[in-house]
Structures are given as structure tokens and as C-alpha cells.
């Protein structure tokens, strides 16, 4: 992918707008229990920030900011965070994903905390998986210049 390095307007505007996108994603993430939002949406918006960066500044810079190796770690961690809450409640003798297990004395507080952790897991996984999909497609070179080892 050829980065549009020479377009000053694009670069300046992008630099201004990316922090706002990421901040908005965090708002959607952590406000999801009160308003519209949640992990899915936040993950997508967060990933969109990086996709925009990659589109304007090139894939190399983007994957230096957020390497695919790291994403390969974050994605399973998010799933484990989600499932971990469920396993924790199972071990505590409650039903799978029964948030009451987190704080049995204050079930309402436990529900808040439970959904926050769960949504964080969802957000991390959605963000990393979407960005990985983008990297996988955008990083593909033309078939004729590929050796067999590059694939997969």
C-alpha cells in the first residue's frame, strides 16, 4: 500500500482526529453499561483509529505502533478475560458468568463490575482481531512476487 505522505492536509487532519477516535472508543467502552455502547462497538472504533493511521501513514508505521505480534497476544487475552470471569464464578460455586460471585455482599456492585470486565475482554478481542484482519489483507503483496514461505 502506498502511503499518501505528500498530502499535508490529510496528514495534519489525521493526526488531530486519531486521538479523538481513540478517546471516543474508550468512552464507548467504559460508558457502555449506562448508555449505548459496549465492547464490540468500542473495539471496532479503536481499531478504526489504527486503520486510519495505516491508510494515511502506511502499514509499516502502523505495525510499528501496534505490531501484529502484540495483537496475537491481546486477542486470546481478551477471550481469557471474558471466560476467566465465568470460570471464577464457577469456582466460587455460582453459575457460569454469574457476576454475583465477584462481590456476593453487594450483588448490584458485582453486576457493574462483572459487565465492565466482560466488556473489556470483548473490546480487546474485537479490536485486535479486526486490526489483524486488516493487516492480513493490507499486508498481502501481489501473488507473483510471493514465495511459498511468505504465505499463511
Amino acid at each position: 500500500m502506498t502511503p499518501k505522505r505528500n498530502n499535508a492536509v490529510l496528514r495534519v487532519v489525521t493526526k488531530q482526529i486519531i486521538p479523538m477516535i481513540l478517546l471516543f472508543a474508550l468512552y464507548v467502552q467504559f460508558h457502555g453499561e449506562y448508555g449505548p455502547g459496549g465492547g464490540f462497538q468500542a473495539g471496532v472504533i479503536f481499531a478504526a483509529g489504527f486503520v486510519l493511521y495505516a491508510l494515511v501513514f502506511g502499514l509499516d508505521l502502523a505495525s510499528r505502533a501496534m505490531p501484529a505480534r502484540a495483537l496475537f497476544r491481546i486477542a486470546p487475552l481478551g477471550v481469557l478475560l471474558f471466560a476467566g470471569v465465568g470460570v471464577y464464578s464457577l469456582l466460587k460455586g455460582y453459575a457460569f458468568l454469574d457476576y454475583t460471585a465477584i462481590d456476593p455482599h453487594d450483588p448490584v456492585h458485582a453486576q457493574h463490575l462483572g459487565i465492565l470486565i466482560i466488556e473489556l475482554g470483548v473490546g480487546l478481542t474485537v479490536f485486535s482481531v479486526l486490526l489483524l484482519i486488516f493487516y492480513a489483507f493490507a499486508g498481502r503483496r501481489r501473488a507473483d512476487s510471493l514465495t511459498h514461505k511468505d504465505m499463511g
Partner: protein, 118 residues
Amino acid sequence: MNLGLINGYAAVALLMTGLYIVLAYDNPIKRLIGLSIFQAAIFVLYISMGRIAGGTAPILAEGFEHYSHPLPHVLILTAIVVGVAMLALGLALIVRIYEEYGSIDEQHILELEREPDA
């Protein structure tokens, strides 16, 4: 025609369009587009079903008594994620097919396949 059912008619039209594209075309990318239209039709059906006349978005706020049923929305969020995963996997497969055969044209590939494989 009952205008209240217009989403239903739209969903059926989209369903038929999507299914036709999936079955009638050889080009794998077009077939994926057909699948996506097919799934989008189902999403429309689900979301329309949750609507309540005069209802607002399902967010608790003062002064609003009626709100749409949120459950179909949540179900469809799940189905959309499944659809995204399917689309990404399908496109990835097409890229790999192109790399292996140098073509995604079904007829061309069938000609290549005539050669016996090991």
C-alpha cells in the same frame, strides 16, 4: 399494501436477491456479496420485529415509557459479528485461491483442474 409490513417485504426481496446471487454466479466474490445480502435481510427482519409503535431507543430515561425491544438488537449484534467473521474468512480463502491458481474464475480453474493431481 399494508405499510406496517414494508420491512417484511424488503426483507423477503433482499433474501431472494441474495440467494439468487449465491446460486447463480460463478465469481466467488459475487457469491460472498450475495451471502452478505442474504444475511442482511435476516438482520432487517429481526430488527423490525423488535420495534414498538411510538417507542424510543431502549435506554432508560425520564419521560419515556415505551421503548423498542432490545433483545433482537442484541441477537443481531451477535449475528453481525458472525457475518463479519464469515466474510473475512471467505475473502481470505479467495485471496489464497487466487495465489494458488492465478485466477478466481471458476471455469478457468476447472480447466486447470483437468490435469490429474497427485
